[in-house]
């Protein structure tokens, strides 16, 4: 048993004059305040990585900077899946008794510190260094390849994917911290600059500055009773060429295992936080998990199914696509928003009073999968 006792999130976007450590500190302080804890209460630290500040020992570096001396600490790297993987690790460590309050934190100034061009070049290395990278593929190209096949197999149209970008933007309009806060429609997505067909600029998440943090605790520290009820992972390949299938990536297996661990079913889920690096990512994950029929995610989005007042509210902060994506902190914003929803603290974005949430993150090109089930106790 573990509790998500506190959450912290900075605005995403351009945050000039803030370093990786500055942003991590800001989110960590907010999470501690939210949990009602002092920094001396933290005895465990798990942090992500920063492409704008690569470091061999980021957790130790951050601990020193922030002024804590944890008895358990390390960093973690599984690409976009890192945020939820850290939550799962913290959950397991807390359950083991090795720590009482684990600070999980990540952030970086990827946009203003590293720059878009350099970030795109770094991220392209997710491809195979000998067999894929020499072909000039960027991350959106790997996802563009996946999208081309998925759309071919399930009859998905570019217009269907665009609905998911429109949905995330509509949600971001309601969050003051979101990077993008001007409305868009399907035509605007379809008319946006081509990046890697069938993906266009508005099908892709941005590069952002920002940070997020949460505290995973053995005991409650405040009235925010949100527990991690189940967690599971699936790692099926690294390179898109080695994917056994471009329609069954591992999200189905991972989420089914997390639901089984939580002893609930998909039908019990009342809020969803699903990784959305690209519109195709969100479509495939929703459909492979079973939250939408194959080829049907865009249609459900257009019908309001995933809106904050719909049947299953999804990424009500605006997701990576519109809240923004600062690396590891990107998916962690999904968890922060989920905790706010489960504690009834999501302001205008509050989606009723959900009790059970399913979260799913992926890293690489839908290669590494982590699913979490959170419950408002």
């Amino acid at each position: 048993m573990s509790w998500v006792t506190g959450v912290g999130l900075t605005p995403f976007g351009k945050l000039p004059h803030s370093s990786t450590l500055d942003l991590m500190s800001e989110a960590a302080r907010a999470a501690l305040d939210d949990a009602g804890l002092e920094r001396g209460d933290v005895d465990g630290l798990i942090c992500g990585y920063s492409t704008s500040m690569p470091h061999l020992m980021l957790s130790t570096l951050f601990a020193e900077h922030f002024g804590i001396r944890p008895r358990y600490a390390h960093a973690m790297l599984v690409g976009g899946a890192t945020g939820f993987a850290m939550a799962m690790a913290a959950h397991l460590v807390v359950e083991s008794g090795a720590a009482r309050h684990i600070l999980v934190v990540a952030g970086e100034n990827r946009l203003t510190g590293q720059g878009r061009d350099s970030a795109i070049q770094t991220l392209a290395q997710v491809g195979h260094i000998d067999y894929e990278v020499p072909l000039g593929a960027i991350i959106p190209a790997y996802y563009g390849l996946v999208a081309s096949r998925y759309m071919y197999e399930y009859g998905v149209r570019e217009r269907d994917l665009a609905q998911l970008a429109v949905l995330m933007r509509a949600h971001a309009l309601m969050h003051p911290g979101a990077q993008f806060r001007s409305p868009i429609d399907v035509d605007a997505v379809l008319a946006s600059k081509p990046i890697a067909s069938p993906l266009k600029l508005l099908d892709c998440c941005p590069v952002s500055d920002g940070a997020a943090a949460f505290i995973i605790s053995r005991d409650l520290t405040n009235p925010h009773k949100v527990k991690i009820r189940g967690a599971a992972q699936a790692h099926t390949f690294q390179h898109v060429l080695a994917a056994p299938s471009l329609s069954h990536f591992g999200a189905g297996a991972s989420s089914a295992d997390a639901l089984a661990a939580a002893k609930v079913t998909l039908a019990d889920i009342e809020y969803a936080a699903i990784y959305d690096s690209f519109t195709i990512t969100l479509a495939i994950l929703l459909e492979e998990i079973g939250l939408a029929p194959r080829g049907g995610a865009g249609k459900l989005a257009a019908e309001g199914h995933f809106s904050h007042d719909g049947r299953l509210a999804l990424n009500t902060h605006g997701g990576l696509l519109s809240y923004g994506h600062c690396g590891v902190g990107g998916a962690m914003a999904h968890l922060v928003e989920t905790q706010l929803q489960l504690t009834g603290r999501a302001d205008d974005r509050q989606a009723g009073s959900p009790r059970l949430a399913l979260m799913h993150g992926d890293g690489g090109v839908l290669s590494s999968h982590v699913s979490l089930v959170l419950e408002a106790a």
Binding site: Y131, P134, I138
Partner: protein
């Protein structure tokens, strides 16, 4: 064709697509290893592929990852199901679509030699 090879083909600057096959379990794959990733047997065969296959996925890239490649955009990146039973990534002529039968040649791209696929009428 299908003669044992000691290089990795175009990766090493040669006009060839090389794959590996395990004589023990029959598994074929593309990324070079000293053992079979299926059954673990060592010293798998290295073979030269025919260069024939079928388009499995395709994406027209409009944004290059580096300054060096920026002059080449847009270019079509394809995933090809090779007739020999493995999957590779390459470039292709801009009109290719999923399901097309294709044949490889080799072209310069940046400082590298890469496989480039064109449509063919030859059946699989």
């Amino acid at each position: 064709m299908n003669e044992p090879k000691k290089t990795r083909g175009w990766i090493d600057g040669e006009h060839a697509i090389i794959y590996q096959r395990c004589e023990q379990c029959g598994h074929s794959w593309y990324f070079w290893r000293s053992f079979c990733p299926g059954c673990g047997v060592s010293e798998p065969e290295c073979l030269e592929a025919s260069g024939r296959g079928q388009v499995y996925a395709a994406s027209m890239v409009h944004r290059a990852p580096s300054q060096e490649l920026r002059t080449h955009v847009p270019y079509l990146i394809v995933i090809i199901d090779a007739d020999e039973g493995f999957r590779l990534m390459a470039h292709g002529e801009s009109t290719l679509t999923i399901g097309d039968r294709v044949q490889a040649r080799f072209v310069e791209f940046g400082s590298r030699l890469i496989p480039y696929f064109e449509k063919t009428d030859e059946p699989g």
